[in-house]
């Protein structure tokens, strides 16, 4: 299925999703803003342009699957799933509240559209690889899009999954590293250096692409290129700006997991409205 690319519609969608993210975290007074805002353009490109999926039939067997391996960034996926009508937008107000299906970290049994339970970093890529193996065994043709954080890929489990995906030639896996150079304790090259990152994945047998993850055309063409690669899983190293869209949150480690205060919330929404 090829869709006509409407860049301005995608941009408008990202702006809307970013506002939802800021509101959710503000109202819950808890949650992860930076990594959600930074990954918004990737998730928007996937759900509104790239992936085959159907909110009316979330269990449709041939759907493409998205797995949020950096599970702390639930605000972005919940906002997108609500916007796609997987569940009422009203539910976003219950984020992180007792009894809500919108838990702090993705919980697959409860939330329509969530494909795998994650939260401990490293789980999602292995689970996604397992699901992709199932599709290979059954000779199915859909794709598995897996979003990892750069801090996350310091986990040993990630490299175990990398080896496994190579062994079974899982070319239905198209993964992303959200390369924002930040994690909880600061710059990832200071906390635990990852560079040179591209040769690491290449040496594990992956087809590796490097792009600007806040640029829709680059995200979309990278996925198209990844789909052409046969016999190898693809890793798209997507350079993003953590906190993207809200000037005072951009590239600031302190906005990893801190909710905004009232004035900060209002300023953020104003900036997103004005499209600064």
């Amino acid at each position: 299925m090829t869709k006509e690319l409407d860049l301005s519609a995608l941009k408008a969608k990202s702006r809307k999703i970013r506002k939802e993210i800021v509101s959710m975290v503000y109202h819950a007074n808890s949650g992860h803003l930076g990594g959600s805002l930074g990954a918004t353009d990737i998730v928007v490109a996937l759900y509104y342009h790239i992936m085959n999926h159907d909110a009316d039939n979330p269990q449709w067997a041939q759907r493409d699957r998205f797995i949020l391996s950096k599970g702390h960034c639930t605000p972005v996926i919940y906002a997108v799933l609500a916007d796609c009508s997987y569940f009422p937008t009203e539910d976003l107000k219950t984020f992180r509240r007792p009894g809500s299906h919108l838990q702090g970290h993705p919980f697959q049994p409860k939330t329509p559209g969530i494909e795998a339970s994650t939260g401990t970093l490293g789980l999602g890529i292995s689970t996604g690889v397992g699901m992709a193996l199932a599709a290979k065994v059954r000779k199915e043709n859909h794709y598995y899009y897996i979003l990892c954080g750069d801090g996350e890929i310091q986990e040993g489990q990630v490299w175990e999954a990398a080896m496994f995906a190579n062994k079974y030639k899982l070319d239905n896996v198209i993964a992303f590293v959200d390369r924002n150079y930040l994690q909880t304790d600061g710059n990832s090259e200071v906390v635990m250096p990852l560079n040179p990152l591209k040769p690491k994945w290449e040496s594990f047998g992956w087809h590796v692409l490097e792009i600007d993850g806040n640029d829709f055309t680059q995200v979309i063409s990278a996925v198209e290129e990844a789909k052409k690669m046969k016999g190898k899983p693809s890793m798209i190293i997507a350079r993003t700006v953590k906190g993207k869209g809200v000037s005072f949150m951009e590239n600031e480690a302190s906005w990893h997991g801190t909710p905004p205060k009232k004035e900060e919330y209002e300023r953020a929404i104003k900036e997103l409205n004005d499209g600064v």
């Binding site: 007792p98 809500s100 310091q154 986990e155 304790d185």
Partner: protein
Amino acid sequence: MEYKQTRMGYVHGLLELARSIPELVVLDADVAKATKTAEFEAVYPERFFNCGVQEQNMLSVAAGLALEGFLPFASTFGVFATCRAGDQMRNSVAYPKLNVKIGATHCGISTGGDGASHQSIEDIAIARSFPNMTVLVPGDYEEAKQCTIAAAKFKGPVYLRFGRDAYPVVEELHGKFEIGKAKFLKGGNELTIITTGIMACEGLIAAETLAKEGCDARVIHMPTVKPIDRQAIVSAACETRRIITVEEHSIIGGLGEAVAGVTAEVCPCYVLRVGVKDVFGESGESNELLNKYGLRAANIVNAARQLLRMSI
């Protein structure tokens, strides 16, 4: 009432110890801002090692440092220390009985909004099941500091359990701390409430309510879950015949079963366990979750009423 974080007690304890123990080093796994060890790093950058998001590696690296004569305190959230890095804790640390201290924060359901994936409610069970492991579960900021200092002076692996939230400061807990010794908070002969961790405060409140109902409850606090203070349990069992255990942890494998294990062998009596009832938690504010999951004085009082109706 004053509220303070037990994780701050941990780091203040470390800062105090670092002055007199040059071998003391601190490790963290990209949650130094959350465990508060970032405050240690600020003062002793050359004695602090951030492992990135690598809990398994961190615990075995800590084992390596201990083998070379250092005194490592490896810090992360309880759920990652015991579950992600359970093997490293068992086979790198506990089995060879290395002098590694594991500072686990964000334990229990009160960790709040992050939800079940981050709420460690089985860590006491896991840690105490490993031979050679000492398990300390302080009740407030001050006791957290006491535990940290005692752990440093003790030779061998220690699991230290702290929370995320600010919890009440409980004067009654501030007496002498000794590993393996219970603290007697209140005398009484009709039943015994045995608490660990932040439940000490709820235990004392429950005892007050029970006193108004004419029930004289003893309150014992056990900041050491392993080795458990058998003598305190045996006296409580023999003298009061009824025990309620209270922990911010699953009723499986924690304080409750440790206590019941002693009474069953030495002086059988009823032991009711107040704790998380073998279910996963969920997102919410700390206080809401403590209410919803039955970890309040009122739940202890209900258990006491039930216990008093049972014939002994």
